[in-house]
């Protein structure tokens, strides 16, 4: 295990969190701790509830039950102003980058700086140059998001996410839709940022190569519940059939790919 100090207070902790949409329980009684400086990967199939879990942590959704604590503060119980304060210490990389189309690369990265700081324009320009060189995109300042590739957009999104020097960065499917080389480069960036800037990273993904490349610890989510939390090796050598099926991408196992609990005759009402 790398630079994690388990004796640390957890920076993010979920206590018995439950989220219900309509009559469906999406997240069921989840508890987990994420420590300062570690790269924590939440993996699971599509529809397993991992994106909902991330939205609960970032405060975009409120839990129906349980508590989400960021640095010991329950984000469902603090005022709007305090929540904004907490959100300012976050950075988030979205699945489709979510750059503002109407702004250039430079203006996109400048956005959180202009909104939340009183820095002078020339200092903001310097910060943008620094952040862009961290993600290897110097010289693209005046391009619009529509003029650059998907991988570059992700990197700009990353530069924007770290613009305010956050201590927690969330990554929603950082490598999805990218070719393996660019995906690998993004993984390396995530790893670099967390070691160079001691950022706590929370990554949501189902890309196994990425999982074992960057994770300090891994949580496997299935049907809204945590199957197991462990280090890279613990998960790799886990005896849990669900985890082994997920790692090896096997179509047979406890994760049911086809819904076969209703017979065809029954479905047709015969």
């Amino acid at each position: 295990m790398s630079a994690i100090d388990q004796k640390n207070e957890p920076i993010i902790s979920l206590r018995n969190v439950t989220k219900i949409f309509g009559d469906k329980t999406i997240i069921n009684n989840v508890s987990l701790d994420i420590f300062r400086g570690e790269t924590f990967v939440i993996m699971g199939c599509s529809g397993s509830g991992k994106s909902t879990l991330l939205r609960l942590i970032t405060g975009a959704l409120r839990p129906d039950n349980g508590n989400v604590l960021i640095r010991g503060k329950d984000i469902a119980r603090i005022s709007v102003d305090e929540l904004e304060e907490v959100k300012r210490s976050f950075g988030m990389l979205f699945q489709y980058s979510a750059l503002l189309d109407s702004l250039t690369v430079e203006e996109n990265i400048a956005l959180p700086l202009r909104e939340h700081t009183k820095l002078a324009d020339d200092i903001i320009k310097i910060i943008i140059k620094l952040k862009l060189s961290l993600v290897g995109l110097r010289g693209y300042e005046s391009h619009y998001p529509s003029q650059i590739s998907g991988g570059m957009k992700k990197r700009v999104g990353l530069a924007r996410a770290i613009a305010l020097d956050p201590d927690i960065v969330f990554y929603d499917e950082p490598t999805s839709g990218l070719d393996p080389v660019v995906g690998g480069a993004i993984d390396k960036l995530i790893k670099d940022l967390s070691t160079k800037l001691t950022i706590t990273s929370v990554v949501i993904t189902h890309d196994m190569q990425s999982v074992f490349g960057i994770a300090d610890r891994i949580a496997m989510v299935h049907k809204g519940e945590i199957v197991e939390i462990g280090t890279r090796d613990e998960i790799k050598n886990s005896s849990n059939a669900t985890i082994q099926q997920f790692i090896h991408g096997s179509p047979v196992g406890p994760i049911d790919f086809f819904k076969e609990d209703i017979g065809i005759a029954e479905a047709l009402g015969l």
């Binding site: 975009a60 304060e85 976050f90 988030m92 979205f94 699945q95 979510a98 503002l100 189309d101 939340h116």
Partner: protein, 262 residues
């Protein structure tokens, strides 16, 4: 059948509630936000004013000048029988300033700028850009809706003034060119019967129309659901709802002015 009507009514009230809530939030960010150090950006307000106002100048000019021309010809047809062709001038001016110019300008702007606002915000919504703003602790209403709201509320009266002038020019062309009214006399008759009240009631209408178009189009955009198809639906709905709202508001405001006089 009853269930369908019931659902329609519930949906309608939910829509009204959403619009009212958005209006409240916009007012909050305009009047309270600046005291909390969070004002809307002057630059983006200005950008929206250019988009809504300046880029609508040509279409507003053409719509109103031809309306003025048509108005002059139609009224002349009636007034000729009474030998009162001269009054074409005042009729055109008064009906344009009080009614036609504010309404036509509002409809043009709703179709041109309102639909663009709904489509832009809708696309931002379905591509996670709105969510990204929220995650960065940037309020989307302050950042996106307030500049558009202010731009429409300020620029629609300005465009209406332009519409008034171009309509009067249209009437002037017909009056002097085809009805052979002396140009000086035409202008004199225009301003003799055109009161200040006619102009400002028209401008009050324009402000209300601008506010309505802004809230409806921002609402449809910000609450778009369901991908590219959803954006298309939101755009259509925003234009249809804006048109209905403008005509309805016109009826109400005209009623208020009409009955409060007596």
């Amino acid at each position: 059948m009853a269930a369908t009507i019931g659902r329609f009514i519930i949906e309608y009230f939910r829509w009204i509630k959403g619009i009212a809530l958005l209006f409240y939030n916009i007012l909050y960010w305009i009047f309270v936000g600046p005291f909390k150090g969070k004002a809307a950006h002057r630059q983006s307000i200005f950008q929206q004013m250019v988009f809504v106002g300046l880029h609508s100048v040509v279409i507003v000019f053409f719509v109103d000048i031809f309306t003025g021309i048509v108005m002059a010809m139609q009224t002349a047809y009636q007034l000729q029988r009474m030998g009162a062709v001269l009054y074409v001038a005042s009729l055109v001016a008064v009906s344009l300033c009080r009614e036609l110019s504010p309404v036509l300008t509002a409809l043009v702007v709703a179709g041109r700028a309102g639909s663009a606002i709904a489509a832009e915000l809708g696309t931002m919504k379905v591509t996670e850009q709105i969510e990204a703003l929220e995650t960065m602790a940037i309020n989307p209403i302050r950042f996106l809706a307030v500049p558009r709201f202010l731009a429409l509320a300020i620029m629609l009266p300005c465009l209406t003034v332009l519409g008034n002038i171009s309509g009067i020019i249209g009437g002037f062309i017909v009056g002097t060119g085809s009805l052979h009214i002396n140009p000086d006399l035409y202008m004199q008759t225009t301003f003799k019967y055109l009161e200040l009240k006619d102009i400002y009631t028209g401008l009050i209408k324009a402000i209300v129309f601008g506010i309505l178009i802004a809230i409806i189009c921002c609402y449809e955009g910000l609450y778009t659901k369901g991908g590219a198809e959803g954006v298309g639906r939101a755009t259509t709905r925003s234009v249809v709802a804006s048109f209905i709202a403008v005509i309805l508001a016109d009826c109400v405001i005209t009623g208020i002015f009409f009955f409060s006089k007596s």
